[in-house]
């Protein structure tokens, strides 16, 4: 299977100017590759930089050094270096991202939050909403909640809306940050099934997962980020 994501020499620092210029080095020299249909789980203690690596792949964090290559057929885009519109383009049709907490636009009904990635790419709204509804039902979000904005939902419900939004569109790359963290066993199982289906369809997945059961179920490889910890 072709390599879809390739990181090499990736380093990330935070410089806290408001705190006197304190420099926090998060990761250095991160290198790994992910193939289509493969799920790579990032491991390591809290604070080691797992979410940061995911965000760097998505482009919502800057990358200080190194390359983050996304291969798409004949196209190779280095997210660390690309023009903003290229990254926007990747987000539109190549990369789906499920963040740790739902960050939804206020006042938009849950079903539209989930359907939006399809609608942006030209899908007819009604058809997109129908598919969104099916996925929400699978994730045990009952129909009466669909027209409500998710801000009033419980943490678990919000996360399931988040997962639905990230998993509904077909994208070659899926980034997951603790997708099952606030879910009960039943919903956890649903999400694991969904991830397995994505893998079968050839999606390259990078995930941050704490729960060892989930990790065992979905991971093809586990990468321990402590070995990429920056020198103190």
């Amino acid at each position: 299977m072709p390599v879809v994501i390739e990181l090499s020499g990736v380093a990330k620092n935070f410089i806290m100017h408001l705190q006197g210029g304190v420099r926090l080095s998060v990761v250095a020299d991160v290198a790994f590759a992910v193939k289509a249909g493969e799920c790579v789980v990032l491991d390591g203690p809290s604070g080691v930089g797992k979410s940061s690596v995911l965000k760097m792949i998505f482009g919502s964090y800057r990358c200080d050094r190194g390359q983050i290559l996304v291969h798409r057929g004949a196209q190779h885009i280095d997210v660390a270096d690309a023009a903003p519109r290229r990254i926007l383009g990747l987000r539109r049709d190549a990369i789906a991202y499920v963040s740790q907490f739902l960050r939804a636009v206020p006042r938009v009904p849950a079903i539209d939050v989930v359907a939006e990635p399809l609608v942006i790419n030209g899908a007819v709204r009604d058809a997109a909403r129908k598919r969104a509804g099916e996925l929400l039902r699978r994730l045990n979000i009952p129909a009466p909640l669909w027209e409500l904005p998710p801000a009033t939902f419980s943490g678990g419900e919000q996360q399931r809306v988040n997962v639905a939004r990230g998993l509904l569109p077909e994208r070659p790359i899926l980034l997951l940050d603790e997708p099952t963290a606030s879910l009960d066993a039943a919903n956890c199982a649903v999400v694991m099934d969904l991830i397995a289906e994505k893998k079968r369809r050839g999606t390259a997945i990078v995930a941050v997962v704490h729960d060892p059961n989930v990790r065992n179920r979905i991971a093809d490889r586990v990468i321990d980020l402590t070995k990429f910890r920056a020198a103190a």
Binding site: K55, R107, I120
Partner: protein, 262 residues
């Protein structure tokens, strides 16, 4: 997947600088905006963001630098070389400019329908029924009651006037909309509705937009890209979530940290 390599920017600014006598408006600002992109320009008072907006829309003449715009025929032209007639024509058809104060962007003594229809009449529409129909249509789109089409904006509230200004600007399907604090000065709930409307319109009409705001939440909600300005200079620029989640420069970090949590 669209091939982005041969796509040209819609709007390009190169080294834009404006001095008001010895007072700096803005210095050396460059950007390129592609079709369908929304860029927020954020900064505090005196940052130069409104100056930048006026330079981009050719309302002000730059001291140095230039603005290039890709017209509907596909050719990118320097705005200062265009004749005034062409620039004014662009301003009426291809561009929209939404003022912070809606009375600046409306004819207050003329009915809402005429306000919306004026641009159509300016480009040669001569059928009263059709003009009125288009105006009615747009009033509905910006969630104004079409029964008030014959009322003047004097009888409208601030939020309604702002919607009317937006309708007036969008009626000729502009490709580029410049907005100066579009929700400034409105009540919070009115702001929220207006932001939702703007978000929807930008997505539906595939508008490109430059939105000046001091409110980072507005920037996050509406824009893909962001430019942070201070004292006339560009401090930082990039993807909105990147700059707001991972601010790099000291001033940006200060701005982000200054937001009160709800």
């Amino acid at each position: 997947m669209t091939d982005m390599d041969d796509e040209e920017p819609l709007l390009i600014a190169q080294g834009l600088t404006k001095w008001y006598g010895r007072q700096l408006g803005c210095r050396d600002v460059s950007l390129d905006l592609y079709e369908g992109e929304v860029m927020a320009v954020v900064g505090e008072s005196g940052s130069g963001k409104t100056t930048l907006l006026q330079l981009l829309s050719a309302q002000l003449e730059a001291t140095a630098g230039r603005v290039l715009y890709r017209m509907r025929d596909g050719v990118t032209r320097d705005l200062s070389i265009l004749g005034e007639a062409e620039r004014r024509f662009l301003a009426r058809t291809d561009w929209g400019y939404v003022h912070q104060e809606p009375t600046l962007g409306l004819r207050m003594m003329v009915s809402a329908g005429a306000n919306v229809g004026e641009r159509l009449m300016a480009v040669g529409w001569r059928h009263y029924g059709k003009i009125r129909g288009a105006a009615t249509n747009w009033l509905e789109r910006v969630e104004l009651d079409p029964a008030r089409i014959d009322d003047t904006p004097q009888t409208y509230s601030g939020g309604m006037r702002q919607r009317l200004q937006i309708a007036r600007n969008l009626v000729t399907h502009p490709r580029l909309v410049l907005m100066d604090e579009p929700t400034g000065g409105l009540d919070v709930s009115v702001q929220a509705r207006l932001l939702d409307l703007l978000r929807g319109l930008v997505a539906d009409l595939k508008l490109s937009a430059v939105i000046v705001t001091h409110d980072l939440a507005v920037a996050r909600l509406l824009s893909d890209r962001i430019m942070v300005m201070k004292g006339g200079e560009v401090i930082e620029t990039g993807l909105t979530d990147q700059v707001l989640d991972d601010p790099c420069k000291p001033y940006t970090q200060l701005l982000v940290a200054s937001i009160l949590p709800p």
